[in-house]
């Protein structure tokens, strides 16, 4: 008797009454702990109570007032800034990753291991460690002498190259059969044609993976916008939450409404592309 669904704990297969109850209680507890706080955020954002720090499961007297106050506090501008940064940042990041991935996966050239090591090395240099010099570099880029401080471009360009995306892309592009490329070469196709018309269309699942991860990574950025933004006109929404909170005139309910707006895009992207997400997470981490 074979059991393909066999698991280590075997909890899913428990059939008895005790097993079922145990299962239900476990799942409920997990839901309560991990999704509960987000539900509290959702409720709190629509709640009218004077002190929204209190726990309530259903909004007593739901209202949109928190959102109208939030919009009066320019939350819409911050949200648009965030969308601008994530849109162009992601576009740049995906373009950079597929180009680099093509060279690393489909080419053999002198200095390739050097390039590979350089890309891997950046994984050891997160922006936290580089924060101080990065703010100096951003204010006057060497050689071209451009000041990115105070501009949204300063939050976009630095996230343009991300080792994770490049490595995922490289792994995927290696899988495309050589024969396809050779056939195209015989027909006289150049590198750019082969890249755009053969390799790239075969890598659509990988594009999903780096797209979802790139979105989450850029949307989650905090330190970089903190270094770059000089005044509220260049705040992203995550950055603005703190400013809202320390404003004595703003109630926690408004902070929750703004937080909900900052949260929704990432939840929506996750729910839509869950498959890519989980796929990238397991393959990326296990290859390590």
């Amino acid at each position: 008797m074979s059991a393909p669904n066999e698991t280590a704990l075997g909890l899913t297969e428990s059939r008895g009454v005790a097993g079922r109850v145990l299962k239900a209680v476990t799942y409920l507890l997990v839901l309560l702990v991990f999704a509960g706080p987000l539900l509290a955020l959702l409720v709190g954002a629509f709640n009218h109570v004077k002190d929204p720090t209190q726990l309530s499961i259903v909004p007593n007297d739901p209202t949109l007032e928190n959102f109208t106050v939030a919009f009066d506090q320019n939350v819409l501008t911050y949200l648009l800034n965030s969308f601008f940064v994530v849109g162009f940042g992601l576009l740049l990041q995906v373009a950079v990753s597929v180009l680099a991935g093509y060279a690393l996966a489909r080419k053999r050239f002198r200095g390739m291991s050097f390039a590979f090591v350089a890309i891997l090395a950046t994984l050891m240099l997160p922006e936290e460690i580089l924060a101080i010099p990065l703010s100096v570099v951003l204010s006057d880029l060497p050689v071209i002498h451009v000041n990115l401080i105070g501009s949204l471009a300063g939050m976009i360009v630095p996230v343009g190259a991300w080792a994770f995306s490049i490595l995922v892309m490289t792994e995927f592009m290696k899988e495309v059969p050589r024969e396809l490329e050779e056939a195209a070469r015989i027909d006289g196709a150049g590198d750019l044609r082969i890249f755009a018309q053969i390799i790239l269309p075969m890598c659509r699942p990988a594009l999903g993976v780096i797209g979802v991860f790139g979105f989450t990574m850029i949307w989650d950025q905090y330190l970089l916008p903190l270094l770059v933004a000089t005044d509220s006109s260049s705040y992203t929404l995550p950055l603005a939450l703190r400013t809202l909170r320390v404003d004595p005139l703003v109630t926690p309910g408004v902070v929750m409404a703004a937080s909900l707006l900052a949260l929704l895009p990432s939840i929506i992207v996750f729910l839509l592309f869950q498959r890519s997400f989980v796929h990238g997470l397991s393959s990326g981490a296990l290859k390590g």
Binding site: N5, E6, T7, A8, L9, G10, L11, T26, Y27, F34, A35, P37, L41, G44, D51, T53, Q54, L92, A95, V96, S97, L99, A100, A103, L104, K107, R110, A115, I119, M124, L125, L130, A131, I132, P133, S135, V136, V137, P158, G160, A161, E182, R185, G190, D191, R193, F195, P238, L239, R245, V255, S259, A262, L263, I267, F270, L271, L281, S282, A285
Partner: protein
């Protein structure tokens, strides 16, 4: 998008070499023939470098130049407009002898260890509990995974509100139900560290769970069956079948989590900003305050270099450890 324009000329040139018809897959299989063919059809030597250029230039500007300037700044007294003065190891001496930094390093270590251990233990437990197929279980899994995709700033603001220190605060009223509390959470020096740790575990455990689930999926199902036939209990199945199958995953997660833990910034910055009474000051909040609030860039850079060395040592030693274990 400019990067696409950059490579355009290559395409025309790369198309130049006359197409070879002599080789098929069989011809390419021979090592010498394969290499000759490859070098011919790959166009100019710099074609791959053009494809790599956007990535390498961006990395140069935003990773390597900042790292190099962190190193030089760490040996200098950085004075904008006046010119930097070379001070040798003075900045390092300042950092290492400062009580504040040493205390912050200790807090960072405690937080990193606590969060890493907590997330991995809870993540493994969750993975074992929720392994399997079915619509209900995959719904619970997805819901449990949500904290991972919540932006860190939202996590911090949300938990700040939940940690409200009065009796009516969200978590305090939950504690009240079981006859505990009220706790000051992040507002009390005694519980502030644990509170930050808890928030970190809430966000870290589901991530670890997903990785563990992927690892568990790779364990041979037949082994469970065999263990069952041999009369192994559930606990024995986990200890002797599942966990050994997860060894590679465990070490990867450990490195990732430990490095993330050492450079923790945003959640501390937003939840407590080092307070109350400096009870949650970590290395990164100290560096941030030194560099961007007090403008002591040289000292801050020295702190950053030390933090980099710590993560480097950690990564290298885990790699060495793993290699020895595999041999």
């Amino acid at each position: 998008m400019t990067s696409v324009d950059e490579v355009k000329p290559v395409a025309r040139r790369a198309a130049g070499p006359s197409p070879r018809t002599a080789h098929g897959p069989a011809g390419a299989a021979g090592p010498t023939a394969g290499r000759r063919v490859r070098s011919r059809r790959s166009g100019r030597w710099w074609t791959p470098w053009l494809f790599l250029a956007p990535a390498l230039i961006l990395f140069l500007y935003f990773k390597f130049i900042p790292m190099a300037s962190a190193l030089t700044m760490s040996f200098q007294d950085v004075q904008p407009y006046l010119g930097n003065r070379w001070v040798g190891g003075e900045n390092y001496a300042t950092v290492l002898s400062s009580d504040g930094f040493r205390e912050a390093a200790w807090h960072t270590l405690v937080l990193a260890v606590g969060q890493t251990a907590g997330s991995m233990l809870l993540g493994l437990t969750l993975a074992l509990l929720m392994e399997g197929q079915g619509r209900r279980i995959s719904f619970v899994r997805s819901a449990a995974f949500l904290p991972v995709v919540v932006p860190i700033a939202v996590v911090a603001e949300l938990w700040r509100i939940m940690y409200h220190p009065t009796e009516e605060g969200m978590l305090n009223s939950v504690l009240g139900l079981v006859g505990l509390g009220p706790s000051g959470f992040i507002n009390d020096p005694d519980s502030s560290m644990v509170s930050i740790m808890l928030t970190g575990i809430w966000r870290g455990a589901p991530y670890d769970m997903m990785i563990f689930l992927a690892g568990l999926a790779g364990v041979d199902r037949g082994l469970y069956e065999a263990a069952k036939v041999d009369g192994a209990s559930r606990l024995q199945r986990i200890r002797h079948v599942a966990v050994p199958g997860l060894r590679a995953v465990l070490s990867i997660l450990f490195v990732l989590a430990a490095i993330r833990g050492l450079r923790v910034f945003t959640e501390v910055f937003l939840l407590t900003n080092g307070g109350p009474d400096g009870s949650t000051e970590v290395v990164m909040t100290v560096i941030y305050k030194l560099g961007l609030e007090q403008n002591r860039l040289g000292v801050a850079a020295a702190g950053a270099v030390l933090l980099f060395l710590a993560t480097l040592v950690l990564t290298v030693s885990v790699h060495l450890f793993r290699r020895r274990g595999n041999a």
